[in-house]
Symmetry: D2
Subunit: 346 residues, 4 copies
């Protein structure tokens, strides 16, 4: 068995890792850390885990983590994450960092958008961007994976083949994205207080959001092509799921099948990207609880736009599922281990 | 008192009219019709109306309607609506038709999008498009008002000043719109079955939606300028509210204040359009239960786009509230009568 | 116009008072206080109030409140409330205190359940319990009203006629009550964080809840009869509404009509209590946004139980609506002023 | 591999069976039937199943089902179910019938509550009631299992040890139960239309519900003791989960630990019943997506009541998960195969 530690186990991505790993055939969670709940059994904090995970939540101690586990998932806020990931990496562990701390090659971009000094700039080049569909080869060769942002996953997977194949006639692409509330994390706040989220819909970060430069830097790195994306996130009154509606400028004459060929070329053999048939578009329901990214599209010849819809579960393909996928790739196991399952449709 | 009949009183727009008119200082509902529930008291069908509206639901009979009321709100599905509206109009009543049947001047556009023959083409020129902010003068002169579509209201109000003042550098405008479920009506269907809507988010009518030509025809009529809109609707798992996010191509150099001036020029004295301050954007919560259309925007100089967010309650400004506003205008009463109120915020 | 101050205007009951008073024919809000938001316009904190309430939120100062208003609604947490209410009362104002601070005649019961010393015990006898259906005469004679708890309102109104008329064969009555989340207030917490409330249902305070002694003390005071209630609250994933299901022990032989007579005797002329017909039971939807308490029942002869269902909107009849009703009574105005309206049904 | 057919695969229990069986180590779905969708691939009807289940939905034909599968899950409405289950049973299959058709030993009780003639009365004695915690021995010996009702599962599991051990001092037990909307099935109706369920809470079937006699008959059969339950169901605006609050009459002097001993005696080794610690009560969230029944309780000495709270996922332990558990028992496999997993907590 592969022994796994979850650093920051009581946030939503930590909990989701436990949910996934309970059924992983090869990995086993052996340590869970938490500052706020240390000393308590995780099954006391979350009674739903009774009989499934009876570990005690402990304070983070890099030596102890490295002693008992070979893989660490670091599920901490950006800033707090980089130091702990670095320490575990320095102790020879394989680390999947779920924060934004190692996603950029360019430290300046990071510092501009996250307003924090990066303390381990030299590690940035070691870190693979954990989107296996684009960077599988880098992931397999490293011990430090920067798990992608949830919105970024949904937009990059939808755009990558289109950018690569020169389908986009001009930029920016408009990425109007909508996310369930778990994407905003587990910390209570006025905006996320039940009665204020519920029965309301809003746009946010309209002046600029951190996942926007992440999308552009990654696409550039993967394709060599400079893109421009206008990414606007919205908050949906529901728990899980991201639906991204992408408005792509195209030349006249492209048909649905032409786009299909482009996507199929890149994703035909990908276990976690599903292409929809003509006339069919994914909803967040179709991927809820799964590691899939589902993609459908309509060519609006009348407006010279290609409208692409991509759907993921922000906590699975957008976070913890993808983190497990990255672990599987790093360890050269079956990439799908622990990750195949039908959607939690209702 | 102005005596009012509601034709099709048991759908959501009919019910919302009752809710509004219960507190209207001058109008009084004297007749409610329904095919499915005829013979029952409306307070039996909807016990929440006990003591507030004790009318019996009756079958539609144009003569009887015209005998007892001077204004009729026709809340029927398109196709079914036109005949009844015509009959009431022919009997001298003032009619607000909430369907799509009289919204187009061009019958062909109607027939193409609604796939129904229009039986009263000559009435199309009599009908005013019931958006008082654009067509107040026409509304006051007619006895037949075509109440606008909900999405159309939200998009047209946000675009009208920008189109008029030449702010838009090129078309199409992308209108990514999101609506609560009451917008789809009261008839049960698989897609609107609670467990299937709940906790899911989807795009629909991506190949083309009827409100798209409505937006363009109306903007052309109001401004003389041909526009192109790419309108994509989405379904939000909540009851009420439309949030439209509009992506408008603009030239460099425009600042927030420039846009403010444009909007203020048209809406400064409008009682039901509220402009948001810099840094502030409306949410559907801010207008829930009200007749307001709230508008905010951000200039994204980095992408040469103006992002406009407009919010309405689809059942109020998007339907029944606007219908009452139209009645108020037609009757040359205080346009806001019965329509001022704070949002049902939580 | 009656000038009104709202102390603690940015919680849910404060906001709901504003929503109601915007349409009150005689009262006018002239002052709104808030510790956390002082110095800001309330329409800046809640943009949905733009154009409806443009007051600046100010710090509490008893003299200033008393200078500008004649009625104060004190919407503060218990403990914090008593001092401010006392100060305003001492300055001659009429005060409606929405907290639990003045609901008990017996200070010991208060101190036991609220775990706070009561600093104004002598005021307890001045305070009327603000349930006009039971204590209208006391309310009209006082200047200090203790607005009832939301659960207490829903249970007491359902039980009062049954207790008075000796319908209950033995105690305890089981009161299984369910409330929407606004009942828990506006302060963010883990339990009320959107993703944790949403799609979940729970019981709470099963060992004992403060509204339980309130129900029993008030029923005793109103009827002279000692009762015993086993009150268990539950949290519903929705914003508003309380549904109470009451299980009452009865003797054999009672029919639906017998119970109707009992209720009608007490509530026939009450403007805000609606009795349901045989075969009909209220839902929270039927009273949403209204000041009604709706009551229906079924006699389960097979189990020797009377099952009563009562529904209120916890923020209206359960808090701010009832507070306005109390003001109307105190000022000997039309008791229903500003409070008649159809439910916000969808 | 065990080959499995799902008869009526497009309702919620059928879909949930597919979700569970996709990860079952030994069973494999080989046939899915549907009247309404026959001829279509199930992954076309539910695109979320793409790549996971690509079977074509076929019309029911008992011979064909028996030819290709050894176990059938019959997920049809009562009445429609009995004939198909009988045919499959007659062809030698093992059958789990998820309807109410074989739950009663007494055909008259069935006919009284379901208002349908039972056509296979002789089969009633063959059918085991599929609650393995009570009837494991019967299930292992039969080929026909009547899968319990969802409410019945939740109430019986909570009461069985209390009844058996004579903890209940008098009847009736009040069972105030609350269910998510999937419990009402997939067929659209006015009451289950999204905007009408959403943000509302209601009691229903207050005059009597079919699961009430099921609870009493089964407890009698399991314990030899006549009970009386007053079961009142309520509808929660959420998809999944049943929370039952049970009010049990007890004598003075019982402590939490005494009750614990009673439950532990029966459930200590049960893999799918979890007992909560003192001070802790389950919520529906804790069991969402799992096959657990979680039970907690509080002794209210002051009211001489034991308050028990039990939580299940109505689609898992309340339907499809329990059906798989029954299959596992019948086939003498590991009873937990395919059924262990952490809750879908958010």
């Amino acid at each position: 068995m592969v022994k796994v530690a979850i650093v920051g186990a009581t946030g939503y991505t930590g909990l989701e890792l436990i949910r996934i790993l309970v059924n992983h055939p090869v990995a086993e969670v052996v340590m869970v850390t938490s500052e706020s709940y240390k000393g308590q059994k995780i099954s006391h904090v979350f009674p739903g885990l009774k009989g499934l995970c009876e570990l005690e939540l402990v304070d983070f101690d890099a030596d102890k983590v490295a002693d008992c586990a070979e893989v660490a998932f670091v599920c901490l806020p950006h800033g707090a994450s980089m130091e702990k990931s670095q320490k575990l990496y320095a102790r020879g562990m394989r680390v999947v960092d779920l924060s934004g701390d190692f996603r950029f090659k360019n430290a300046e971009t990071y510092e501009k958008w996250y307003k924090i000094e990066h303390l381990f700039k030299n590690l940035l080049k070691e870190a693979a961007f954990g989107l296996p569909e684009l960077f599988r080869d880098e992931i397999v060769r490293t011990r430090l994976v920067a798990n992608p942002g949830c919105y970024a996953t949904s937009v990059i997977l939808a755009l990558y083949p289109l950018v690569s194949e020169g389908i986009i006639s001009s930029y920016p692409v408009v990425a109007d994205c909508k996310s369930g509330v778990t994407g905003a994390g587990r910390k209570p706040s006025q905006r996320l207080h039940y009665p204020e989220c519920n029965e309301s819909f809003m746009a946010y970060s309209v002046s600029g959001h951190r996942h926007n430069p992440e999308m552009e830097e990654v696409l550039l790195r993967a394709t060599g092509i400079e893109t421009q994306i206008l990414f606007i996130p919205h908050l949906i009154p529901m728990n899980r799921g991201i639906l991204s509606t992408l408005y792509v400028n195209i030349d006249s004459g492209l048909r649905w099948e032409d786009i299909y060929e482009v996507y199929a070329k890149y994703y035909e053999n990908e276990p976690f990207v599903r292409l929809y048939s003509e006339g069919e578009l994914p909803t967040t329901k179709d991927v809820r609880g799964t590691n899939y990214c589902d993609i459908g599209w309509v060519v609006r010849e009348d407006r010279k736009k290609l409208v692409v819809v991509s759907a993921i579960d922000n906590l699975v393909k957008g976070a913890s599922g993808q983190a497990v996928q990255n672990m599987n790739v790093m360890l050269e196991m079956d990439e799908t281990a622990g990750l195949i399952g039908a959607p939690f449709w209702v």
